[in-house]
Amino acid sequence: MKILKLLSFCTALLTSVSCLGITSPNMHEETLTSGISHQYKGGWEYFVGGGVAVFDCNDDQYPELFFAAGVGRATLYLNNSELGQALRFNKKVQSELSVTAVTGAYPLDIDGDGIMDLAVLRVGENILFKGLGNCQFENANRLWGFDGGSAWTTAFAATWEGDNQLPSLAFGNYVDRDLPGAPFGTCHNSDFYRPDKKGQYRHNTPLIPGYCALSMLFTDWNRSGTPSLRIANDRQYYRGGHEQLWKIPETNPPLQYSAEEGWRKQKIWGMGIASTDLNRDGKPDYYITSMADNKLSTLQTQDGSPRFKDIALERGVTAHRPFIGNSVLPSTGWHAQFDDVNNDSYTDLYVVKGNVEEMSDFAQLDPNNLFLGTPQGRFIESAERSAMLSFKRGRGGSLVDLNLDGLLDVVVVNRKDDAQLWRNLGAGRALSPAPMGNWLALKIQQAGGNRNAIGAFIEVRIADRTQSKEITVGGGHGGDKAVWHHFGIGVAERAIARVQWPDGQWSPWIRLFANQHARIRRDQSTADTWLPFARAKTTQN
């Protein structure tokens, strides 16, 4: 009777799944029609990596996609989509970015000129590309005095320390192939670069010991005002290694947190890092992908010591083996990202998975997870319900609103297979997408070199709940996005937001109406709103 009754309430609604619990978005795979044809491939060095950088390079706010290609040429795809419509991209044929041996890339505005730059990670010399506007780039290693080295780089993060005009950069390196006995026990040191007074990266500090970093993130885990460097390391190759957290004293070299200080030496196949504040304590929680059990770390202490506990099991996100099919073999997780794909105000989690290559002890058919957050705190697997099952060997990815309709779309990079795109149709269908919950898209800006307020925290409050996000550069697996900060706000028609700027100062609470793009600037107590173009700009190839 109860079921009958519920169904009768739902019969006229297009969103039938909405009556059955937390609503899954309808995803529509548009890989074949998107104009993107791209694979991440290569030999052993490219078993890892395979990221995608997501950013706008032609000032229309429609995000472009820059894909690592392994032995092939990394490729920039220009967004040519229309507002709320099918995803369309054009390959940029002539581009400085078309370099080989790329494992990943991270967008950031290094010189604070308002144009996104790119840190490109490679097997070999890493490259800092300066954005010139209109999707033109130049190799700026010489300009910024940056020695890209020759290591096998697989991770990156950046932070602005103090009043520095330029960011400090961390490059995470994997196996040192030149050492005897490689690859086992031969993890490369990672590198930390601070800009000098001349705005040059002439000196780097090796982060010793290195334990084969596959993801890294500057993050203010205890809200002390000074971020630390979290590194996810691959136990496959290290000896005596573990996950790492480095203190970054402003004028001194980085220093590892020790067991005496509370840091537990966890050993996992650390592949990717995602962060958000799940338990609303104002401090980020971290999802670390791995082979087998993935970890969800939440701070246990109030005294500033870095003791975390794993709550992946209680939240239902261990994702330790495929959620579909008969395989009992463990999964292999790579990119992970928290964001709200159904805009119900409870953050969701996307985990890209795929066998390393042919590892027979691990699942071969290893679908990506889409976990939907619930008010009760547990997550519900929803990839199949959202029609986005994929059994390819996933690596990098992103949840990002590619057509600026307020719904996060999905891009995934696959090893030796085509990159995939799904358009988020919300509660609708391909010809008639429909919104789900209400949302906000925020751009946060301040004066100075750290224009995009990396290191700031955004708080969005609806009713009795506050969502908190740290603005970071890094994490994921091989890539990150530098676009609007997205918040689902459910049934709230309005919200208030404030920013704790990187120097610790708070903005006032700023009033925002739902379903709009808005920009919060440090010197303003109201937000500017922004309307999308009807379609993305056409940029010369």
């Binding site: 006229a12 297009l14 619990g21 109406f513 173009f533």
Partner: protein, 466 residues
């Protein structure tokens, strides 16, 4: 203890057209609403049946057997759980505070206004949720407005929102194509909502928008002007006042629970029901001008109308606003998530609002005698502070700012003011400050007889029973 969830709607699948005679009555049935309309049934029912259902819902004294009460959740418009449960099931301050809509909206009849005794105590429902005091720091005390002509009000607001958003869209397009900053006036139906400026990159400076929310949606309901649609207002009120929670706001999609208020009733009001009750309110009769029988008073009222204009009261209380279409679509186009949206349904239900009592202008627009500009104004100042007597900002709106009262029907709806604490029209006029200072001063400059004539005019603006 295992508790059996009680099924609220036993007869839900039975179309209303077959209900009355054929059904075996339930002995001792204490439900106020025994039948509900599924959204899918709307097209099969005659409009009169839907409106009758809406009236039944509006007049129903909800009981616990209908799902009335919300022991575990608050009056907040966003799902919010109570942290403690110490208050009684019904509670005059923090609610649920009434059994029926008509319990308050009842003068001169269902859908009408209410006097001081039926004031409500509006709070956010987020903090101090069980307030048991009338102190203004806990809630805003509000009178009960009438709902007559509400369909026309919502239609006006929809058209005005569309106009304003089109002005914004065009400005953004121009700024981008011309690559220069552009400022435009936001004027719709002759009402000036300030201006906005657009930079070539599409960012919009909202600092000079006046009297409307920054998303340029006219929210014509409540005295503050903060509710978009009758549907949204009804969903909020059903929860706040009766503890009847709609799945559109508190359903599993948003709360992962089918009984968020933990009263052991699920799906307490259907989407079809909400369409019905919205339509009922939308089709309440249009207020009229009805003169007193004595010729002396008729003449005074006519002269009072001239004086009303002479004092520039009509700058905000605009006598008529032009309406292009009487086609009432439900759900409306500006509902946000948490209220049924047009994108949520296969077909929007449409109803033609009665044009009785409406004149037309030369362009064929219907002239809605609303006596309002549907804009918010600062209405109090240091010399006239009465209307700034609240302490809680509601939905971002300053405490001295209210939407221009819709004066149609004002002659039938004493007492006056947003708190219903002013007993005469003369007093309420004299309380006008802020942006209304000039008009009030002109009124004050009138002779006593002239002022009485204005009052006589206002008394002629009346509700009818339909």
């Amino acid at each position: 203890m295992t508790r059996l969830k009680i099924i609220t709607f036993v007869g839900i699948l039975i179309p209303l057209c077959t209900q009355a005679a054929d059904q075996i009555p339930v002995i001792g049935d204490e439900r106020a609403v025994t039948q509900h309309i599924a959204l899918s049934e709307l097209e099969r029912l005659a409009p009169e049946q839907i409106i009758a259902q809406g009236k039944l819902l509006f007049n129903a004294k909800f009981t616990a057997l209908d799902g009335a009460g919300r022991p575990a959740s608050t009056s907040a418009e966003i799902p919010v759980k109570k942290r403690v449960d110490l208050t009684p099931a019904m509670f005059r301050t923090s609610g649920p505070d009434s059994n029926a809509c008509v319990g308050c909206h009842n003068q001169p009849g269902s859908g009408g206004a209410g006097e001081f005794v039926v004031n409500v105590f509006a709070s956010s429902g987020v903090v101090n949720v069980d307030f048991d005091t009338l102190e203004p720091q806990f809630s805003n005390e509000r009178g009960t407005p009438h709902l007559h002509g509400s369909g026309l009000v919502e239609l006006l607001a929809r058209e005005m929102s569309a106009d304003l958003q089109e002005i914004r869209r065009a400005a953004v397009a121009s700024a981008r194509s011309q690559q220069q900053r552009i400022s435009v006036k936001l004027i719709t139906k002759g009402v000036d909502f300030g201006e906005l400026s657009v930079n070539p990159d599409g960012f919009i400076d909202i600092a000079k928008i006046q009297g409307v929310d920054h998303d340029l949606i006219i929210r014509p309901f409540s005295q503050k002007g903060v509710f978009t649609s009758l549907r949204q207002f009804s969903i909020n009120a059903m929860n706040a006042h009766h503890g009847i929670q709609s799945n559109e706001r508190w359903g599993k999609q948003w709360t992962n629970s089918d009984d968020f208020d933990e009263d052991n009733f699920t799906a307490e009001i259907s989407s079809g029901d909400l369409t019905a009750i919205s339509l009922y309110q939308a089709t309440l009769p249009t207020p009229v001008q009805k003169f007193a029988e004595h010729p002396l008073l008729q003449e005074a009222a006519a002269q009072g109308e001239q004086l009303f204009r002479q004092a520039a009261c009509n700058q905000c209380h605009i006598q008529t606003l032009p309406l292009t279409s009487l086609s009432f679509a439900e759900p409306g186009p500006y509902n946000a998530a948490g209220n049924l949206r047009q994108t949520d349904v296969a077909a929007v239900y449409r109803y033609q609002i009665d044009s009785q009592g409406l004149d037309r202008d030369q362009q064929g627009n219907w002239l809605v005698p609303i006596f309002s500009d549907l804009k918010r104004h600062v209405i109090a100042d240091v010399h006239k502070p009465h209307f700034a007597n609240e302490r809680l900002s509601q939905r971002f709106i300053a405490i001295d700012e209210f939407m221009s009262a819709k004066l149609w029907g004002v002659g039938s709806t004493a007492p006056y003011g947003h708190r219903g604490d002013v007993s005469t029209l003369m007093e309420v006029i004299m309380h006008h400050g802020g942006e209304a200072q000039g008009a009030r001063e002109k009124f004050e400059a009138f002779s006593d007889l002239q002022r009485r004539k204005v009052v006589e005019f206002l008394k002629s603006l009346q509700l009818t029973q339909g």
